[in-house]
Each structure stands twice: as structure tokens, then as C-alpha cells.
Symmetry: C2
Subunit: 314 residues, 2 copies
Amino acid sequence: MSKNTYAIIGSGALGGFYGAKLQKAGLEVHFLLRSDYQHVLKNGLIIESKNGDFTLPQINAYNNTNKMPKCDVILVALKTTQNYLLPELLPPLCQENNVVLLLQNGLGTEPEIAKIVGEERVIGGVSNIASNKIGYGHIRHVDYGLIRIGKYTTNYQPAGITNKMREISQDFESAGIQVNLSEDLFQERWKKLVWNIPYNSLSVILDARTDEMMGDTNTRNLITEIMQEVLEGAKSCKCEIPNSYIQNMLDHTDKLNPYLTSMKIDYERRQPLEIESIIGNPLRMAGAADIQLNKIGMLYQQLKFLDARNRQDI
Amino acid sequence: MSKNTYAIIGSGALGGFYGAKLQKAGLEVHFLLRSDYQHVLKNGLIIESKNGDFTLPQINAYNNTNKMPKCDVILVALKTTQNYLLPELLPPLCQENNVVLLLQNGLGTEPEIAKIVGEERVIGGVSNIASNKIGYGHIRHVDYGLIRIGKYTTNYQPAGITNKMREISQDFESAGIQVNLSEDLFQERWKKLVWNIPYNSLSVILDARTDEMMGDTNTRNLITEIMQEVLEGAKSCKCEIPNSYIQNMLDHTDKLNPYLTSMKIDYERRQPLEIESIIGNPLRMAGAADIQLNKIGMLYQQLKFLDARNRQDI
């Protein structure tokens, strides 16, 4: 087993959960926290999980990356709306041969991170997980957890599987988290968008759960049409996703328990929405290839309005 | 001055207001009521209006068209969602040479009415009015009031100005209501849709007033793009509206006082929304001409979902 050490940047629903699982499996993990820092320093982390609850009474907690050791894997699990902090947060953590694993929603953030830490260091990943932070240092893992990771290269060209990726996979699997290794990070990101764009957007715009939207013919059709636009967008960027993937996603969602999307949770908490990474960036990439995605463009405009109004008096 | 008698079918914010103004001007008016019938029979109508408040302590009130006299003008001012009642309501009112004036939102209802009463009898109209029913027999006229009317002919072909239209115009003008006579009812209806489709739809979907939507760049652009789609829809039906009309509508709306659209008011009252006449019919007409209106199609789907959910436990 590898002896990789992990720095978790953003120890919320996602980073907090995965970091805790890694630490529980015996790995050395260091957590960057902000609002939870004082509480977690004193009380550690509580994880409620469908795979078994546990607590970590003591963790390595930091509120400043300058104080953190330089770990082998820097796992970035911030909301993309916080990425403007990364040019300051990441450089103190970098050392020769360590990597940044970007476990975030959407598209187009890897190039930004590559500018900060160097492209050779960047691994991207998408996570299928239903997990919420429900209090200071208190995370509830509802379901799933699979991660797909791939090496980032210029313009998201397909890349090989690196040794570091294999090590990360082993580390996570020792912690009970399945990691799929992919040679095509770009496709993984677009595939995730097939789900994320319609459900995240419409859950906010229509104030609706996935089961309500799937149970109504009009929204079900709309979701399907938006998914088709995502496939068009991917295709415009030379990323082919088979049409059958849409039916897979619909079937998958039919089986989900009634579920609030991450964007809906952010909206209800009056947090900034991940509109640019999930919707704006794919829209602009397709636009650069002269493909207009009408429905997704309209989702973007509706969400920008709602997000601005939602936070105007904060 | 003409001696036309008027039957008002649907004596709410619109029909109640215009009917009361006509009666106040000395014309013979008969009102069909439903929920307000008992109250109005006893107490008459109260009109609050920016042009002067007045009450009509006694009016000719009915709850059944079989009991009403056959008037010269049958003014239909029901919400289009109530039009399924018209095959029963209208026939008892028809006599030789009387007309049906259809003062309703949207497109595509005249052909339905023509099937019931005969095409020669049908005049259509659009009304620019801000008026609300705020209690039994109690109407608040906030602003505007202009009506544009035109003769209906098969497939909305342009038609001449009839004597009956001139008489109606004189009747209304004697009551202080301006009536413009049009030779192109179809164009009047499409022009009204340039405003009605974006503002009515988005006010419900985004839970927003017109001023909020106009003040945000994203929704302002979206409104403009939807207006462009309405023009495309009109054009697909051989109805040309100049592009400058969009700017007129935007400028006009910028000057409006913060305003809830009629569809938003219906939504808040959990009444059925006029989705089919305002959005569905224009969409289908353009579709029949092989023009897909993507954004309007998405408004339709979103509204159908919201409307169904809004009334599911009534």
C-alpha cells in the first residue's frame, strides 16, 4: 500500500467525507477548514454514513495552507465558486512530484489550476456522491461515493493512466471508496454534465425535487432535450457520448430517492451557485465551436437572475 | 349614438370593468356571473379606478345565459381556461346580426368560437389594461384600458372594418374607453404576444416582477431573445412585425410601475394559467410551419409543470 499523504482543501460534504475515510483507513490526512476550523480543532469530525457511522475525535486541522505540510496529494474539494482563492492557497502546498486532484463539478477549471501549479501536476475527477454537511464538522453521507479520475493535459486531450492515479485509486479503495481510472477526463466531465446541467438547473428554477421533475411529462421531456443539448455541446468539442447514455441517466434518476441537488442546497443556503463551471463554461466552449445551446443558454440566464436576487441582501 | 345592448360573459377584472363603464355611460348591460352572483345581485359593483371611482348599486346580474336577453354584443371576457364552457354558454345568446366580441389573451380561440356561433359573428380584441378583481363585485382598475379590435375571418386573413365595429368603438368611447379598429386581428394578437409571452411566463417561473426582470442583464437579454422568437413565430405564419417593435415593448415596460402580470396573479391564486392560449397555440402554429421556437417551448414546459403542481391538491 502507498504511503501517500493527503491535504484536503475544502473539508465540507465532499472533502470532509473522503478525507475522513482516508484517515480512518490509516492514511495521513491534513484538513484545511474555514468556518468549521475552531470547532473541528476541538471536536474532530463526525461522519454519518449509510456504510457505517464513525467519528474522528482528532484530526490535523488548519486554517491556512502556509501551516500545512506539503502532502503527496492535494485534494481540492472546494465549491468552484471558491476557486478564486486557489492562486493563494495552492502554491505553499506544492513540492516536486506531488499532485493536485481536482474533485469539483463542471468543466474548465483544470486549465485554471494548471496555470497555478503546472499542468503536469493536475488530475481531475468527478464524484458521484450524495453527501451533506449538516453542522460544524458533521457530515451526512446519504448514498454513493464512486470517483472517476483522469490526468489533465492541454485542452483536455486524452492521456494515459499514471502511477500516481493508480496509487490514489488504491488509497481510496483501502478506505472503501471505488475509484475508476479514465484516459479521457474530458469525456468524464461532459458525461457528468449530462446529469448535472438539467437537474441542478431545473431543481433551482422550478423549486423541485428530481422525482417531481421525472414524474411530469413536460419536465421529463425538457430534461431529455437538455441532455441532448449537452451531447451536442460535447460533440462540438470533439467529445462523443453515445445517445444511449441519456436513457441510462433517466433510468438512474428514476431509481434515486427524492433528492435535492447540490445547487438546490446551495440556493436554499443562499450560497453562490456553481453556474459558471456547470453551465457557463460548457456553454462558452460550445459557443467557441459555433454551436448555440439554446435551452442551456436559457437555464444560464434564469439561474444568473435567481442567484443574484437570492444573495442581493446578504 | 348606437343603442347596442351588451351581454358580458365573465364579469371579472376585465369584463366587469368594461361592462360597468358601459352601463355608467347609459348603455344597457347584462352581466353573467358565477362565484360573485349572489353578492352582486344584492350589492351591485364597486369600481375603483384611476379615472374615478364609482359604484353601480344595481346591475342586471345572471348566473345562467338561458335567462339573459339576446344582446347586440356578446362580450366574452372569461379567462381562456374557461372557454370549454362557451359551447354551452353562447348559443342561447345568439340571434340574427348580433356579434361576439372576444376580449381574451392569446391566439387561436376565435376559430373555436367561430365553430360555435358562426364566423360572421366573431370579432376579436386585445385589451391593454391593468385591472384586478379584489373582492366580490369589487374591481380595481390600476391603469390603461385601450382595446384593439378586428373582425375574425377564416385563418385570420386581414378583413375590413365593419359597421358593428364602429358602433362598438363609439359605445366604448362614450364610456371613456379608447378602441382602435384594426384590419388585421392576427397581427394585433401576435403583437400582444410579444409582451405577453416573455413577461407572463417569466414572472411565474422566476417569481418576479417586471421591474426586477428588466433590471437584471440576464433576464433582460432573455426577454429580448424571447421577443425575437415571437417575431419569428409570427413570421412563420406570414405575419410581419417590425423588429423595432421589440424596443418599443422594452421601453414601454421600463416605464411601467412594478407590476404583477395576469398569469402571476392567477398563479398566486392557484387558478389555472392561460398557458395554451398564450404560449401553446403560438408554439403549435409556428410548429405547423416547421419553425421550432426553442425558448418559448421551454417556457411552455416549465409553466406546465408549475401549473400542474400549483393545483395538484386543490
